[in-house]
Symmetry: C2
C-alpha cells in the first residue's frame, strides 16, 4: 500500500508552500504559469490526490450525491439503467454516487437526515415522485439541493428542479401509431386513478383519440400486474377494442396474451424479449440532466427550472404469444 501523499509532500517536492499547491489545483489563475507547471509536475511525480475527507472538513463539500436504490419488485423497471447513467454523469463532474435504501417516504427522510449528519452529501436525487411527496417538501423546507426524476405531481411540491419523461406525449404517439395501423377502437389499461404518472399516460392516449373524434371509454384500471392486465385486456377486447395502449410493460405482458396489438411502457428487457412494442425512456439523458441541474445549483450557476424529455416508441413484432396447450 503506497504511503499517503499529502499536499505538504507536493509542496516540499516543488519548493513552494502548501497554499500554492492548493491554488494550482483550485484557482490556477492566481498562480504564475511557471510555478503552476512545476507544481503539476510534482503532483504527477508523486501521484498526489486530494483527500476528500480533509477537503470536506474545511469546505463542507463532500462531492457526493445520494440516491435511494429502489426495490426491484417484478424487475420490470427502469431504475437500474437510470442509476448507471447517473453514476457516469456524476463522475464526469467529479461527483460520486452514494446509495441508500428505504422502505417508504418516512424512512427515506430519516435516512436522508442521518446521511446529512454523517456523510453530508452535497445533493440528493429522488426518484418515483408521487402526489403529496413528503420527501421533496422536507428537502425544500431545509433548502437542501436536490432534483427529482419525476415531476412534482402535487401543487404544494412545486418549485424545485426536476427532470421527467413526457408520458402523455409517449402514449399519444403510441396511440397515433396504432391509428396509423388502421385501428379505430383502441383501449387503455392503466393504474388506479390518482397516480400522477398513470393519469398522465392515460391523458396522452385519450388526447390522441379525442383528436380523431374517437371513443375514449375503453379504459380500465389495474394494480399493474400482468394478471390484471390480462383480465382488463379480455374485457376491453370483448367491448370491441382491437388494440391496447398500456401504462407499463408489466400490464402489457398480460394484455399480450389476449391480443397482439399492444404497446407497453418503459421498454424493459421483457419487452425486448417477447417482442413487445414499447415506449423507451431516454434514461441516460435523464440522468445526465439530473446531474446537470444539481451541479449547476451546487456551483451557484443559474439553473433551468426543469427538463421534460420525450420517450421513443420502439416498435417490434411479437415473437411470443400465449401457448394454447402448455406442455411440460
Amino acid at each position: 500500500m503506497a504511503a499517503k501523499v499529502t499536499i505538504a509532500d507536493v509542496a516540499r517536492y516543488a519548493n513552494v508552500s502548501r497554499q500554492t499547491v492548493s491554488n494550482v489545483l483550485n484557482s490556477p489563475e492566481v498562480v504564475k504559469e511557471e510555478t503552476r507547471q512545476r507544481v503539476l509536475a510534482a503532483v504527477n511525480a508523486l501521484g498526489y490526490r486530494v483527500s476528500a475527507a480533509a477537503r470536506q472538513m474545511r469546505t463542507g463539500r463532500s462531492r457526493l450525491l445520494a440516491v435511494r436504490i429502489e426495490t426491484t419488485q417484478d424487475g420490470m423497471n427502469v431504475f437500474d439503467r437510470f442509476l448507471h447513467g447517473l453514476t457516469e454523469s456524476a463522475a464526469r463532474s467529479d461527483y460520486r454516487v452514494l446509495l441508500y435504501t428505504a422502505t417508504d417516504d418516512r424512512s427515506e427522510i430519516d435516512t436522508i437526515d442521518q446521511l446529512l449528519g454523517e456523510f453530508e452529501p452535497d445533493g440528493f436525487v429522488l426518484t418515483s415522485t408521487h402526489h403529496g411527496d413528503a420527501r421533496a417538501s422536507w428537502l425544500a423546507e431545509r433548502d437542501l439541493p436536490f432534483v427529482t426524476f419525476g415531476r412534482p405531481w402535487g401543487a404544494s411540491e412545486a418549485g424545485h428542479p426536476w427532470v421527467d419523461v413526457d408520458g402523455a406525449a409517449g402514449t399519444e404517439a403510441a396511440t397515433r401509431h396504432l391509428l396509423g395501423d388502421g385501428h379505430r377502437r383502441i383501449g387503455f389499461i392503466g393504474w388506479e386513478a390518482g397516480s400522477g404518472v398513470g393519469d398522465d399516460r392515460r391523458a396522452g392516449w385519450s388526447r390522441a383519440l379525442a383528436a380523431e373524434g374517437l371513443d375514449t371509454a375503453l379504459t380500465l384500471e389495474t394494480d399493474g400486474s400482468p394478471d390484471q392486465g390480462r383480465a382488463a385486456a379480455q374485457e376491453l377486447v370483448e367491448r370491441g377494442a382491437t388494440a391496447l395502449v398500456c401504462v407499463s410493460d408489466s400490464v402489457a405482458l398480460g394484455a399480450l396474451q389476449v391480443t397482439p396489438a399492444v404497446v407497453g411502457f418503459d421498454d424493459t428487457p421483457v419487452a425486448a424479449a417477447i417482442g413487445l412494442t414499447s415506449l423507451g425512456q431516454p434514461l441516460a439523458e435523464a440522468a445526465a440532466r439530473c446531474v446537470e441541474l444539481l451541479t449547476d445549483r451546487l456551483s451557484g450557476r443559474p439553473t433551468a427550472p426543469h427538463v421534460l424529455l420525450s420517450p421513443t416508441l420502439v416498435t417490434r413484432k411479437p415473437t411470443l404469444a400465449i401457448r394454447k396447450d402448455p406442455r411440460s
Copy 2:
C-alpha cells in the same frame, strides 16, 4: 438547515470532555454507566451525528464500500438485485455503498486507484470475476480489503475471500429435474469454453447425465444471445434432444422458441414473464455474505475463506411460446 452539532457541543451539554463523548460512542465499556447515560441523553437531545469526514481524517476509516455498477447489456442479469442487497447489508453494519463505473479491467483499476486516493473506501466488492482477473491480483498485491462475488477462476488469483453461487450444482439439479420428467436426451447450450462460469455450469449438466450413463455429446457453444440460443436449440433438437439446459435466461429465451422443455439460469424478470423454468441465485444472501466477509476482515475478525451458495430451481410452465403467424 439545522446548525451542525459537533462533539464539543455534546460535551458541553453533558458537562464532560470531548473525549468522554467519543468514548461513550466508541468504547462504552470504559465509561461509568451514569456518565454514559447522561452523554447519550445529550446526543439525543442535540441530534448529534459523527462527522464521517472528521472521523476518517483521524482514523483512516471511511466506512465506505466501493462497487462498480455494471452496464446492463440486454438487461437479463442479476446485478441490480445483488446491488440492492449489498446496500442493505452494508447499512446494517454501518457501511455505505459508493458506486463507480468502468469499461474494462484496466479502467476499473485506474478508478479504484483514484478512489483510494480520494475517498479511501475501506473495501471493494468485485463482480463478474473471470480468468486472469487483473483487478483481483492488483488489489491483492496491495493487500487491500476486497471480496469478489464470483470465485477466482484462475489459479493465480486464489487466496482472497469470495462468495459465489454453485452453478454446477444448479445445472445438475436442473438436469435431474428434466430426467425426473422422463427426458433421456438432454442438451446443454452454453457459452464459448474458457469462461469459468460457463464451463462450471456445463460441468453440472454433464455430471448429472454421466451419473445416469447418458450421452453428454449434446452441447453447443454460443455468444449468449437469444438468436444463437435459438439456433443451437434447433440443432440440438434435430440431433435428438428433447430438453435443454441453458447457461443463461438469455440463451434459454431463444431455445424456448424451439421446444418448451428448457431451463434457464438466473431467474431474471424475463423468465418470470414468459414462464421459463430457471435457476435463481440467492442474491440477497450472497450480498450479505460479501459484506460479512469484508467487515470481518476490516474489523480484524477471523474470516471464512469463502462461501459457496446453492441456486434454487424455480419451475414454471411456459405461458408464452413462439407465435407461428405474427400479425400486426
